[in-house]
């Protein structure tokens, strides 16, 4: 299936307008290269406060580089960035006190117990959460006295999230938070993220999992080769809600499929040709995965 997507204004540096100082994150014309490799290539993005924004893209597309520039870990080569109204390149302690960061690489090894780690982390912030409440929130209360290294993979990741939110962040960065989770752990994690949203936390999430983006994000951005190719609500990404539906059925012993912009009319005609039920009838819209794969395939 090849389809064209509307050229998106978001990846076009011109016309994106000035930085939005009230947004949680505002990016204009961001550029970053490592030697010859262009990691981020003129990226524009605004994330309003209170939103959960998911950045989707293949490995090496520039997700982590973009996020780490916003977090203050990397310096940009071009463009302007404001995170909570400040330039992350010059972020001071007060600015950092409003951020929560869950790194892709995790929080590292420690001889401290889970509670001790959270207590130490909380003591760096202006207005921290109670460590025990955070443990409750991420479901690690029973592991409070365990050392970090005795935790399972999923528990460790929840500890990473606990460390990320104990400072009561206004803006939380989550870089591939559920990689390596089993389905059950991911569902639990999603409900944790939703409860944080209810507390008003803005989140920038990167993920490989489309179902995760669809379940959590208010808006999704697809990034390939350092450019945002589209930003949309998950349901309409790539014109998905108006994309042709695929109708399939069995006729004369063979499987037939037909792509149509008007599936209702098509099925009505189809029904008229059969005396009873249309055999094996199915109507499908492209899934987020279909749209995503054709998007990144197109620009790869």
């Amino acid at each position: 299936m090849t389809r064209t997507f509307p050229a998106s204004a978001v990846s076009d540096g011109a016309g994106a307008g000035p930085l939005d100082p009230d947004a949680a994150i505002s990016i204009r014309g961001l550029g970053k290269r490592y030697g010859e490799f262009v990691a981020v290539d003129g990226l524009d993005l605004d994330i309003p406060r209170g939103e959960i924004f998911a950045l989707l893209g293949p490995n090496g597309a520039g997700k982590t580089t973009t996020v780490e520039i916003c977090e203050g870990y990397r310096e940009r080569d071009a463009g302007e960035v404001r995170v909570l109204g400040e330039d992350p390149a010059g972020g001071d302690r007060r600015w950092k006190s409003q951020l929560g960061i869950v790194l892709q690489s995790g929080a590292g090894d420690s001889q401290l117990t889970v509670r001790e780690m959270l207590q130490a982390r909380a003591s760096y912030y202006a207005d921290p959460r109670d460590p025990d409440e955070v443990l409750e929130l991420v479901g690690l209360t029973e592991k409070a006295r365990a050392r970090g290294r005795s935790l399972s993979g999923g528990q460790r990741r929840r500890l990473d999230v606990a460390l990320g939110i104990v400072g009561r962040p206004t803006l939380l960065f989550l870089d591939e938070p559920t990689t390596g989770f089993d389905p059950e752990a991911r569902r639990q994690f999603w409900s944790l993220i939703r409860s944080l949203r209810d507390l008003g936390t803005t989140m920038l999430l990167t993920t490989h999992y489309l179902d995760e983006a669809e379940a959590l994000a208010d808006r999704v951005g697809v990034i390939t080769r350092g450019r945002l190719v589209e930003v949309a609500v998950p349901a309409s990404l790539g014109g998905r809600e108006t994309a042709p539906a695929v109708v399939s059925w069995t006729e004369d012993g063979a499987r037939r499929t037909e792509a149509t912009p008007t599936p209702t009319a098509f099925v009505r005609d189809l029904a008229a040709r059969f005396p009873g039920e249309v055999p094996d009838l199915a109507v499908a819209r492209p899934t987020l995965e279909d749209v995503y794969l054709s998007m990144i395939g197109e620009s790869a």
């Binding site: 406060r49 209170g50 977090e71 203050g72 870990y73 302690r93 007060r94 950092k96 006190s97 409003q98 951020l99 960061i101 790194l103 690489s105 995790g106 929080a107 590292g108 090894d109 420690s110 001889q111 401290l112 001790e116 130490a120 982390r121 003591s123 760096y124 912030y125 202006a126 207005d127 460390l163 400072g167 009561r168 962040p169 206004t170 507390l199 008003g200 936390t201």
Partner: protein, 269 residues
């Protein structure tokens, strides 16, 4: 909204330093390998050498009395240089440092925590070594102004070793490679710097190499605290050269500090 509460103030740097000091002490004393390797190894060496090599080296002084200065210098080296190089390389490669850099922790508090860790471990090593030496091998402890020499050599030597250890940590890929590099170097330095043998028995060319590094000067300065002045004649210059000890160690502090400032990284490349 969860914006920082009106009037919420960042914790004071002193308070965060206190937290970091507590964290660093727990990290050290709960790690069995660190405690055994850094803290107990010099003690074991003292017990072994004291039992095997307790012969007279002249002027009624036993080798154990001589070895006391060397093993304390080696203990300072272990607690400062090896401990920092391996510990920080490990924390850099496993993401601990990167995680901290993303918090509002004042960067200085991290280093204060490390210094407290080194100081506590160093003082503990010295206390145990002095106790074991005095009780089991009749080592004569320094007296009067010699304690002062003991103290300043410890502080200056420890500072140089700690700064160098932090600088070296940036060269290593991870804790294991730091350990594989630093441990043999430290061992060789200990052999040629007058820790395990009397420095006067080390070939001159090796003495020259040893003189480029801090350990030789730490051991020499500490010998002046443990040995009668009559034995100063056995030193390369025929005296304790305390002025030069202070100068070389201070120089290494400056070199170490400059290297730290230029090379310290909070994350892997």
């Amino acid at each position: 909204m969860t914006a920082v509460r009106e009037g919420a103030v960042l914790p004071s740097v002193v308070a965060v330093c206190r937290t970091r000091a507590g964290v660093e002490l727990k990290e050290f004393f709960r790690q069995r390998e660190a405690v055994v390797f850094t803290l107990m190894f010099p003690v074991i060496l003292l017990l072994v050498f004291g039992a095997v090599l307790n012969y007279d080296i002249g002027h009624g002084v036993t080798f154990t009395q001589y070895f006391m200065a060397g093993i304390i210098a080696a203990g300072i080296l272990g607690a400062g240089l090896q401990n920092m190089a391996i510990g920080i390389a490990t924390e850099r490669s496993d993401g601990t440092l990167k995680g901290l850099a993303g918090t509002p922790m004042p960067k200085a508090a991290f280093f204060v925590g490390k210094v407290v860790q080194v100081l506590v471990v160093t003082v503990l090593i010295e206390a145990i070594l002095l106790f074991v030496g005095a009780v089991f091998y009749g080592v004569t402890l320094p007296s009067g102004s010699r304690w002062l020499t003991f103290a300043w050599v410890t502080v200056l030597g420890s500072a140089a070793c700690t700064l160098l250890g932090i600088a070296i940590s940036s060269l290593a890929k991870n804790g294991r490679s730091a350990s594989a590099t630093v441990t043999p170097i430290a061992l060789v330095l200990e052999f040629i710097s007058g820790v395990f043998f009397r420095f006067s028995q080390v070939p001159t060319w090796m003495q020259t190499i040893a003189a480029l590094f801090p350990l030789k000067w730490m051991a020499q300065g500490l010998r002046s605290a443990f040995l009668p002045d009559a034995l100063a004649a056995q030193e390369p210059a025929g005296s304790w050269e305390l002025g030069r000890v202070a100068l070389v160690l201070a120089l290494w502090c400056v070199i170490g500090l400059l290297l730290c400032i230029r090379t310290f990284r909070w994350q892997d490349r």
